[in-house]
Amino acid sequence: MANPMRIRAAAKDGVTEVRVLMSHVMETGQRKDSSGAVIPAHFITELTAKHNDKVVLSAQFGPSVSTNPYLAFKFNGGAKGDKVVVSWVDNKGDSRTDEVQVA
């Protein structure tokens, strides 16, 4: 099962900044293991972030995104205590959803 994300969301001057760290190998499919066998690609393909049920960002990733991906973005509005929910799915169909309250 996928490990939890670390999400931080902070509202300041009418803008909420969201920073997300995801725990994922982001394997490119271009590397070989010690026996010479290709390590299959395994990476997050899609991500959605919602603020109180409204989608505030959707993203698509390729294997060039670094291992344990980092994402930061900002949306207008948002107040202390609001909910920010981030979900991802990867190319193997695994998924993870975590939420945080805006600080």
Partner: protein
């Protein structure tokens, strides 16, 4: 249900229970809405990548800014940020010219979200990093060279 997405899941190999759930539409519908742009992520040439993004030959714009270090200590993790000061920015894509698959990530920016995203990418070698922005249906771009002292795709 989008067929491209279904193909993508199959291409990922071993359609596990989560894959089946996703294919059956049981994973949050909004995640399935925007199908993963396989053509863009598989593109090995800049022209192919641009056309898969629908961008054609975007004009260089000073209103698109890339934040990235001039030199990265390790290509495995290179911080890249893109800010678009163009009104009605709808999407931002980050491309690494010299990576085998050059499109790193694409972001849809709904109304109310600031056109300002940061992420981190792998870079196999020193390369230009491109930001492609779609605003009001038109495409714009910026690029910046990032030197990499140690490639980040091998290990």
């Amino acid at each position: 249900m989008n067929h491209q997405r279904r193909d993508t899941l199959k291409a990922g190999g071993g359609l596990g229970i989560f894959g089946l759930l996703a294919a059956a539409g049981m994973i949050k519908p909004e995640m399935a809405e925007a199908a993963w742009n396989k053509a863009a992520f598989d593109a090995h040439k800049m022209d192919d990548a641009m056309s898969a993004l629908g961008a054609g030959k975007p004009a260089e714009s000073a209103d698109v800014q890339i934040t990235a270090p001039d030199i990265a200590e390790n290509g495995a993790v290179v911080p890249v940020g893109v800010v678009s000061n163009i009104a009605n920015t709808e999407s931002i894509a980050i491309l690494i010219e010299k990576n085998p698959a050059m499109v790193a990530a694409t972001f849809d920016i709904p109304a109310g979200t600031v056109a300002d995203v940061q992420t981190r990418v792998k870079m196999g070698q020193t390369s230009d990093v491109y930001a492609v922005v779609k605003a009001d249906g038109k495409f714009y771009m910026a690029k910046k060279e990032v030197k990499v002292t140690l490639g980040g795709c091998g290990g």
